[in-house]
């Protein structure tokens, strides 16, 4: 419930701030009827602050703030307290019904169990801090709060400062701001596809694998492996394929492998069984699988395909005596090996898995991946806000610093950032509130199997109460917990607005 309520508030804050830079239709139109009584003499910022106050601080704060300046000095000149009460009433009723009552009822509900009949005291709150899955959500929210708002603010600041200097600033800003026009749900769907593991589907991995492909093109047969039974003459050992029996020069060794994709073999030629040659160690490496079934195990049958270019090592007493590569028909030969027992080894390099991209949607990277999507969405918003603040900075201060010989970095570091700090703080705090209530991106981007690892409090709250859990007691407790987390930042925001007013 708290979610919904601070949603519109943020939007309005943004709207008002944006209006500060480019005056659009009057702020009155979007505000409630209670804002009409005070004459339009107030400055735009004050109006913005008052709105935020109205939605967050409650009617009492507004009531005292609005009529205070005239009435404080002249005693009874303003409306009578009764009249003030009458004016306050609509706002009070709306706030009471939409904010106060839901919060109070949530607190009340959180003290009861799933059925709502049994009073359980603080048990639901104890569950939050004892259940390992809820603890994960708290940990994830912590990660979010530490990384997401700071990154969004920094990126927004960089964009804002840089766009000030370029010719097509508006166009650039428009492009960066564009993600804000997409609903979070849709952004989630987009990034779900971007992060897809398969490079054929996921853009992120497509980029990474093609860059990687430029530097280290993959070769060999990553899927090839020996058959898993004792009759196979070769077996897997530490990633390499090694013959089970020792072999001697003069023998022809069969190295049957399976599991190679038919597509890989499309251009391969038919394998030829190597013939024993006196004094030479020969053999064949081929795919021991006849398409369509049939064929004798461990024998080169008519249509079976050869594996070309496989490195074969002759190993004696643990050290490699000779190395060769298979021909187009899969055969290989070691000429001039000294007599003795050898093991044939196909080293792991033949079967190196090609780099297949990063598992963005895996349990380890899921939260950073979703934070990436979040930044994509909100960076434009931060940029526009900060750019508005930037345009309000007195130019003379910057120019004075430059004339005094400050470098651009010093100007940025010592003049721009300190002067911008109020705006930066607004963006930062807004982003903290936004990250605490993040829901849709996690819900859409994380596949079902990593939802537990990606889970955040707001999502857990919905899941336990409506998404199958059916425990609205615990859900209410989570909602209240979230409210408690958001509250300090709300208070910071309100305090700051008040200070600005004075």
């Amino acid at each position: 419930m708290t979610n919904r309520l601070d949603g519109p508030q943020d939007a309005r804050e943004g709207g008002d701030a944006a209006r500060g830079s480019s005056p659009g239709p009057g702020p009155v139109s979007s505000q409630g009827p209670t804002d009409e009584p005070p004459p339009p003499a107030t400055e735009p910022e004050t109006a913005g602050a008052a709105t935020a106050e109205a939605t967050t601080a409650g009617a009492a704060a507004r009531g005292s703030a609005a009529p205070a300046p005239p009435s404080a000095r002249r005693g009874r000149l303003g409306p009578s307290p009764t009249l003030a009460l009458v004016f306050m009433l609509p706002a009070a009723i709306v706030l009471g019904a939409l904010v106060i009552y839901p919060i109070v009822y949530s607190i009340f509900r959180s003290l009861f169990d799933a059925t709502g009949d049994t009073f359980v005291g603080a048990e639901n709150y104890a569950t939050i801090f004892s259940d390992s899955s809820t603890l994960t959500t708290i940990r994830n929210n912590l990660i979010w709060v530490v990384f997401a708002p700071a990154t969004v603010t920094v990126i927004g600041l960089i964009f804002a400062v840089l766009t000030e200097r370029i010719r097509w600033a508006t166009a650039f800003k428009l492009v960066v701001f564009m993600p804000m026009a997409v609903s979070l749900m849709a952004s989630g769907v987009i990034f779900r596809l971007v992060y897809e593991q398969d490079p054929d589907r996921g853009v992120a991995n497509a980029v990474i694998t093609s860059v990687q492909g430029l530097f280290g093109p993959s070769h060999g047969y990553p899927d090839a492996r020996p058959r898993e039974n004792d009759a196979a003459p070769v077996a897997l050992k530490e990633g390499a394929v090694v013959t089970r029996q020792a072999v001697k020069p003069g023998q022809a060794v069969q190295v049957p492998l399976v599991g190679v994709k038919p597509a890989t073999l499309a251009s391969a030629s038919v394998a030829k069984a190597a013939q024993p040659v006196p004094g030479e160690l020969t053999g064949t490496v081929w795919v021991d699988f006849t398409q369509g079934g049939g064929g004798t195990l461990n024998q080169v049958d008519g249509t079976e395909k050869a594996l070309e270019g496989v490195t074969v090592e002759a190993v004696r007493d643990g050290s490699v005596s000779a190395t060769t590569t298979t021909e187009a028909d899969g055969t290989f030969r070691f000429a001039g090996l000294p007599q003795g027992d050898y093991l044939l080894r196909l080293p792991q390099s033949n079967f190196q898995e090609p780099f297949n991209g990063i598992p963005w949607l895996g349990p380890a990277l899921i939260t950073p991946a979703i934070i990436g999507a979040f930044i994509w969405v909100w960076a434009g918003f931060a940029m526009v806000l900060i750019a508005a603040g930037l345009s309000a900075i007195p130019r003379d201060a910057l120019e004075a610093a430059r004339i005094d010989g400050a470098t651009e970095w010093q100007v940025f570091r010592r003049i721009t950032v300190p002067l911008l700090s109020p705006v930066l703080l607004v963006v930062f705090v807004t982003m903290i509130i936004n990250t605490l209530k993040v829901f849709d991106l996690v819900f859409v981007i994380a596949p079902g199997s990593v939802q537990p690892q990606a889970n955040v409090i707001a999502l857990e709250m919905w899941r336990v109460s409506f998404g199958g859990g059916g425990n609205q007691g615990l859900g209410s407790a989570l909602a209240i917990f979230l409210l408690v987390l958001v509250l300090p930042f709300m208070i910071i925001n309100i305090r700051r607005f008040r200070r600005d007013n004075q």
């Binding site: 899927d223 599991g259 398409q291 895996g362 596949p447």
Partner: protein
Amino acid sequence: MRKTIATVTLTGLALALAACGGQDTASTSTPGPGDSAPASAAGAKTLEGVTVEVAAKWTGQEQENFQQVLKAFEAKTGAKVTYASTGEDTGAYLGPRIQGGSPPDIAILPQPGLVQQYAKEKALKPLSAEVQKQIDDNYTPYWKELGSADGQAYGVLVKAAHKSLVWYRDQAFQDAGAQPPATWDDLIKTAQTVADSGTAPFALCGASGWTLTDLFENVYLSTAGPENYTKLSKHEIPWTDASVTTALEKITQIVGKKEFLLGGPSGALQTDFPTCATQVYGQDKAAMVIEADFVATSAEQSGAKLGEEAKYFPFPKAGDTEPVVLGGDIAVALKDSKGAMALLEFLASKEGGEIWAKLPGYLSPNRNVSPDNYPAELTKKLAQTIISAGDAVRYDMSDLAPSAFGGTEGKGEWKLLQDLVRNPSDIKSIQNKLEDEAKKAWK
């Protein structure tokens, strides 16, 4: 969602196969007085002037087919039946109407859990003796129990979805020279052969937890038998039971082998339903997908022709029982009117079931509805397995469990079976966690 898929699929499936499935005789069959079925209401039009309102979630083709069944009922009894569509969320539609005191006469519920819930709220009317007789005649005792709460029968299962299937791509099997297996061990052997041929044998929809519970249910029903299945679905035996161990071990024979799963365990866990079906049929990357009859829709959308490229075999026996796990819709009476009971009786009867069976997209759980009635070859075979399994047919276990355990993304059974795919070596600890979660959910 899967239930929608199920229903949509059966429709599409039947439509597609109608061409080869013989002629459709549905529209012509009006019940004559000589019919052997329901006793009391037969013959005279005893319900002239009575109106009955039925609420179900079906729309489109499914609704039209159901309304044909209702028409047959109207023609037989003279009653007037109106149909109301509940939309996707049946509970959300019915709840306010029940509380407002004007429920429909009959509602068709997509989950047995709702039967229990409404029975607790005293919103359901007990079935009349005639309806119960039909159920006794046409259904195994298990289905009667499923529609009962506290020993009182309230509902009758009228439409089924078949969940004991393994779909495969014919070309992949031909390339590997493999045959559809009949037992679990054969399945493993076939999988090995397919893997050797260079194709991944299974596309597992690991990101959709319910597909894993379906897999478990089939293996468990087969290895532990129907009695244990019923007990486990009520949590009368713990999840730490040895029978569960056996079933999970069988599952790890598939999920424990990297080359058996497309993309390995990590790839499988990022694949949701129906992506796994497209991996088999559209992208030709894997050979088999283990899921219910509604895979047909995805297969067709991927361009595979049912019966040619997209084929299926019954879930292989992993133990002594041939597993048949069904999902389905349960009809209940919310008003104790004469018309409501007569309609329930009709729906539970052989007569009503056969009228419905002749229309595409329907599978009946009624054991006396002959498979010959179905217009499509595929449905015929499915119906055959239901009938031959007899008393051993069971309802989807995860749908019977409290949803916190059996139906929530990232929680309970869904999550823990995904953990098993991620780390197949530690069955014991998975079982302990399953038991912990079950204890919480059944509290």
